[in-house]
């Protein structure tokens, strides 16, 4: 039992740390750190810096651009990225559709898409959730009816993150209406330029345009865009959702935000000194730090066990990463809101398309409440914490 990294791992960490902090533009990292919205160009710039180094998709198969890293290296890589406030490579490309195509797609699909996915030459978005299918994803209704060498897709998807920038969408669609719930679902790739697709923005409570509704009205999709077998889509979706869980707790992000909170608290006047002079506040920060440290070790336990555990026996430690990780992300935004104090009232000035020049010293404070608001999502998306607890109760506790 040894929690220390090996010298090789430390060298690797130093290498990625150096790279992230020198090669990824500082103004992009500042936006990430402050929790402001990034532009389309920001995403592309940042991912291409990584891809040029061969680091956009290190967890993919070697032949499609992956690195043969150990689980610990991957863990270090992700944590350092978060710590440096480097935007993660577009999740929908690199952690979702890419691995699915690499694992289940045919050769033509791989050759057509994978390199573009890695370089963000194609921007992908996700078409899973529907207005009536949230927690109960398998009740989705969007249907694809085969007509010759096309599917005709009709229905509606929602919560499609950054769909407004997307070239492609990967969708779960019902191809066998007679089959039971999970059984009749297929995984298909749809070009967003196809006639019949409408994207409608949803503005979330921090005032940002991050998610969308996507409507499909008799959209013709070539059958060659089916991934794997028809009606097996649910399996691919499960694979996708289980893929790369180690980053899910976002420890590095919370650490980075805590460091920022400390910096800001040291600058924020309070009483005779600054907010950081207030022991109560410092102890509230320390409480979050302690929980975060515990979760970091929990995450390392999961990483260290990768490949060693019986994959059929759920790891109780891994199950808690999402729940506790999201709680701690939210706790840090509460602290940030507390730092901003009375100045949190001002609305965002620079995020998204809102503009509002605010002649104020605390030029970060307008993003504090926005960040707090936005982070309410982390206990909702990707299977709400309630769903996670249901899963743990069943799979781990046998209740």
């Amino acid at each position: 039992m040894d929690l220390r990294f090996t010298p090789e791992e430390i060298a690797f960490r130093d290498e990625v740390r150096q790279f992230f902090r020198t090669e990824v533009p500082a103004e992009i990292r500042k936006k990430v750190s402050e929790g402001r919205g990034m532009t389309r160009e920001d995403y592309i710039t940042s991912q291409r810096v990584l891809n040029a180094k061969g680091w956009a998709v290190p967890h993919w198969p070697r032949e499609w651009g992956g690195q043969d890293w150990t689980p610990i290296q991957r863990y270090i890589f992700t944590e350092e990225m978060l710590l440096a406030a480097v935007p993660l490579p577009l999740q929908f490309n690199c952690y979702m559709v890419g691995p699915v195509i690499a694992a289940f797609g045919n050769q033509a699909q791989k050759e057509k898409h994978l390199a573009k996915i890695a370089n963000l030459d194609e921007w992908w978005c996700q078409g899973f959730s529907e207005p009536g299918a949230g927690s109960d994803l398998a009740s989705l209704k969007t249907k694809a009816v085969r007509e010759g060498d096309h599917y005709i897709v009709n229905g509606q998807k929602t919560w499609t993150t950054l769909g407004q920038y997307a070239d492609w969408i990967f969708c779960l669609v019902r191809t066998d209406p007679a089959a039971k719930k999970q059984a009749g679902i297929s995984f298909i790739l749809i070009d967003m330029k196809t006639p019949g697709i409408t994207v409608r923005p949803i503005i979330t409570l921090e005032g940002r345009h991050e998610v969308n509704e996507v409507f499909f009205d008799n959209v013709k999709v070539p059958v060659e865009n089916l991934v794997g077998e028809e009606n097996k889509g649910w399996d691919y979706a499960k694979f996708l959702l289980a893929n790369e869980r180690t980053g899910i707790a976002r420890i590095g992000l919370s650490k980075e935000r805590l460091a920022r909170i400390k910096r800001l608290a040291k600058e924020m006047p309070a009483g005779e000194g600054t907010l950081w002079d207030d022991r109560d506040f410092r102890e509230r920060v320390a409480e979050v730090e302690i929980e975060l440290k515990a979760l970091e070790i929990t995450q390392m336990r999961v990483v260290a066990a990768q490949g060693k555990r019986d994959p059929n026996k759920p790891d109780p430690a891994s199950s808690i990463l999402k729940i506790k990780g999201s709680q701690l992300q939210q706790a840090t935004t509460e602290l940030l809101l507390e730092v901003a104090g009375p100045f949190a009232l001002a609305a965002p000035v620079r995020s998204g398309d809102l503009t509002n020049d605010w002649p104020f010293d605390y030029d970060w404070a307008d993003a504090a409440a926005a960040s707090y608001f936005n982070n309410r999502k982390v206990s909702i998306y990707g299977g709400s914490n309630e769903i996670q607890k249901n899963i743990i109760a069943k799979a781990v506790l046998g209740l």
Binding site: S135, I202, G271
Partner: protein, 387 residues
């Protein structure tokens, strides 16, 4: 001991609720109300005046209607439910409160009738860049000039500061930045030379302003309360503000809780309303408990805000704010979580309630600030009910 409203209060409640329902019945209506440059509807403001809402806390001699904290509670609860954008808090409770509590007879006669009839709006400019929640932390300076003063300084996040005709400004007439003595309050015309007002939108859909004061001349007649002794008045005003906010928060939480329970009953997942899930039921109960605790403290605030003993009163109002803040957080966060994605969207009324509840937490002192004040006052034991 009695928690019932009088028949006049019930009538007031019905009236203001009808008005709010008519003007803030939907999110679209609220959006429309807020689209003008002021961030609220002048028509609604005129209706408030017509109904007599703007004169509630002022005595009949002052031109008002002699209402008390319970009347304010009734109005604020209804305004909360509607998420009304009109500057009732800023004008009637804050600015009007300062004039009412500290103004000379002449000043009152000059200002209050305008407030009551809706022609004059006020704002209270007290927060500064370095002050955080400390009312005694005042860096804005003055110098004597003739029988008046010249103000220099800057004020931050002045609620509805960009639509007020008059500002009530705290400034230092003697002493050092954090001294309790030496603070004076002045009525400053918003269009006076040297006043620069920079308005902006706030997180909750309202408006606030940064205000720069550069060589602003005010006459001696504009002094509110005794020279150097403005702080107690400012503190009183903020106590009234906390009582008003508590009521507003209760109105919001009640509405948000109602929306959430309704959603649990209608939203279907896994073939049944999600309200069938016991975990969600219990969370809705936790919200209810937080709401009822807040409701009790809003009533407590209304009783204690006119209590004579300043120390007991201060502790009581700080305790109210602590409980209100805690309840706002529980009810707001749980409401979003129980709604799931829909609770995160600007298209959903509940999200706007959540945002306002979040902002209420930080207005006039956050939880840490008021918990400390309760402690400094020696706890709540002394500051009980009259009983």
């Amino acid at each position: 001991m009695d928690f019932d409203l009088s028949s006049e209060q019930t009538q007031l409640k019905d009236g203001v609720e009808r008005l709010v329902a008519a003007t803030y019945g939907s999110l679209e209506q609220r959006k429309a109300q807020g689209t003008g440059p002021l961030g609220f509807s002048e028509k609604s403001w005129a209706q408030f005046a017509e109904m007599g809402l703007l004169g509630i806390p002022f005595t009949e001699e002052e031109g008002g209607f002699g209402g008390g904290p319970v009347e304010t509670l009734v109005v604020m609860e209804a305004l909360g439910r509607g998420l009304a954008l009109e500057p009732y808090l800023a004008t009637v409770v804050l600015g009007g409160g300062a004039v009412r509590l500290g103004g000379s007879d002449e000043l009152k006669q000059r200002i209050i009738p305008g407030i009551v009839e809706g022609s004059s709006r006020l704002a209270l400019a007290f927060t500064e860049k370095q002050s955080r929640y400390d009312l005694n932390d005042v860096a804005t300076t003055t110098r004597k000039a003739g029988d008046g003063f010249v103000l220099e300084g800057a004020k931050s996040v002045v609620i509805n500061g960009d639509s007020a005709q008059h500002l009530v400004v705290s400034a230092r007439t003697s002493g050092n930045r954090r001294d309790r003595e030496g603070i004076s309050l002045f009525l400053v015309a918003a269009d006076a030379p040297g006043v620069k007002i920079h308005g902006y939108a706030t997180q909750d859909g309202g408006r606030a302003a940064e205000i720069a004061l550069s060589g602003v001349q005010v006459g001696a007649a504009e002094l509110i309360g005794p020279l150097d002794r403005g702080l107690p008045i400012l503190e009183r005003v903020c106590e009234f503000a906390i009582a008003a906010l508590a009521a507003e928060a209760v109105g919001i939480m009640e509405a948000l809780h109602g929306l959430t329970v309704e959603y649990l009953k209608t939203r279907q997942q896994f073939g049944a309303p999600i309200g069938n899930f016991q975990v969600l039921q219990h969370r809705a109960v936790d919200m209810l408990i937080a709401l009822e605790q807040a409701r009790s403290m809003a009533a407590y605030a209304a009783m204690m805000v006119e209590h004579d003993d300043a120390a007991e009163r201060g502790a009581a109002l700080s305790a109210v704010k602590v409980q209100i803040n805690r309840s706002c957080r529980i009810v707001g966060q749980e409401a979003v979580q129980l709604h799931g994605g829909i609770g995160m969207t600007m298209e959903y009324l509940g999200a706007h309630y959540f945002k306002r509840l979040t902002m209420i937490e930080s207005l006039f002192g956050d939880t840490a600030h008021h918990l400390r004040r309760v402690d400094v006052a020696g706890g709540l034991a002394a500051g009980g009910l009259a009983a």
